[in-house]
């Protein structure tokens, strides 16, 4: 089952706690530096581990674009998708894997570990996260519209738009 058709979504604190617990285990087991989860539309869900100096928003935007381009490349050679991507650096490398075609798992790692170990442990994490997101989306399917902010919030946000979007 793929989860790619779902629209807006929201996370509860319990959802994020469970995701972060899973990412924490992944870092410990793979000896990676940090792990992150981004949504395919370019939004950062969470990062765990050594994220010092990491621009999470830029990372999320580029990771999702990278994966989207990857999907198109896969299509060109007759594959439905390439399920993972590796960017090998001199000191730091990045491994990314698809989770249910809706989310991307990333692991930043250095010479304290190997690509083989990261790939192995990330594969186990992907399986667990797929199950977790399947439950999360099943809740959305069964429940009400996930996003709804109160009118007072919208009014305040609109005031803030007026204040911010002007020449400083």
């Amino acid at each position: 089952m793929t989860l790619e058709t779902h629209g807006s979504w929201s996370f509860s604190e319990a959802d994020v706690a469970e995701i972060e617990k899973r990412l924490g285990s992944l870092i410990a087991e793979s000896k990676g530096r940090s792990a992150f989860l981004v949504d395919r539309t370019g939004q950062l869900i969470t990062t765990v581990g050594d994220t010092n100096g990491l621009d999470g928003m830029a990372l999320a935007s580029l990771a999702s674009a990278n994966f989207s381009a990857n999907d198109q490349l896969a299509g060109l050679v007759g594959e439905r998708d390439f399920s993972s991507l590796v960017h090998q650096g001199e000191r730091v490398s990045l491994y990314m894997a698809d989770v249910a075609r809706r989310v991307i798992l990333g692991v930043l790692f250095d010479q304290q570990t190997t690509l083989g170990l990261v790939r192995l442990k990330a594969g186990l994490a992907v399986a667990a996260l797929t199950e977790l997101f399947r439950e999360l989306f099943a809740r959305f399917e069964a429940g009400a519209r996930p996003l709804s902010m109160e009118a007072g919030w919208v009014n305040e946000a609109e005031d803030e738009v007026e204040r911010l979007f002007r020449e400083s």
């Binding site: 959802d15 198109q72 902010m149 803030e160 007026e162």
Partner: protein, 192 residues
């Protein structure tokens, strides 16, 4: 679509600037980047060719601050306007919350405007989105150039549904923030 993270108390919304090549989409983002308070915006990322034509997208996150305990942020994207980059354009539209169509007011660009508008409808339809039901505004850019199409004609051709529209000279910043404010407010309203 928007994502609310109740754990980190964040709301992120995606706004895409669409339109024909060389119409001024990137210029809009560059002006916003330069003029908003630096503490409220992140790094601007441009995936462009050596000649500074947009190859994949430009990205600029702008932080609205904390509203009733929710950190609210707009992610501004542009798409490449050139006809043959449609695969990239379609990818950027994934999960979009609001659209700005940046049209080029010059007479010789009218066909390109219309083609790009059709392309926008088609690409959104492939994701199951209907532009008529989404936060959507139109900007008529380059109003300072000679040989421009009149406002009535632009509206007739590009804005039959009378969505909010704005005249602009993006290189000088004219109309840039009016456009952004309008689409931002429509996106915020769509969350309620």
């Amino acid at each position: 679509m928007s994502m609310i993270n109740y754990a980190s108390r964040e709301i992120n919304c995606k706004i895409v600037y669409y339109g024909p090549g060389l119409g001024g989409k990137t210029t809009n983002l560059e002006y916003i980047f330069e003029k908003v308070n630096p503490e409220t915006r992140g790094k601007m990322i441009s995936l462009a060719t050596e000649t500074e034509r947009t190859l994949f997208f430009d990205f600029l996150p702008v932080d609205l601050g904390s509203i009733r305990g929710f950190k609210t942020r707009f992610h501004l994207y542009t798409v490449p306007g050139q006809v043959y980059y449609n695969a990239s354009r379609k990818l950027i539209l994934k999960g979009v919350d609001g659209v700005v169509f940046v049209s080029d007011s010059q007479m010789e660009r009218m066909d390109a405007n219309i083609d790009s508008m059709h392309n926008l409808y088609e690409n959104l339809a492939e994701y199951g989105y209907d532009l008529r039901e989404m936060p959507f505004v139109i900007q008529y850019n380059k109003r300072d150039l000679p040989s421009i199409v009149g406002l009535d004609e632009l509206r007739a051709q590009l804005n039959p549904d009378s969505v909010p529209d704005f005249e602009a000279v993006a290189v000088k910043g004219i109309g840039v923030f009016d456009t952004l404010k309008a689409v931002s407010k429509l996106v915020l309203k769509s969350l309620s």
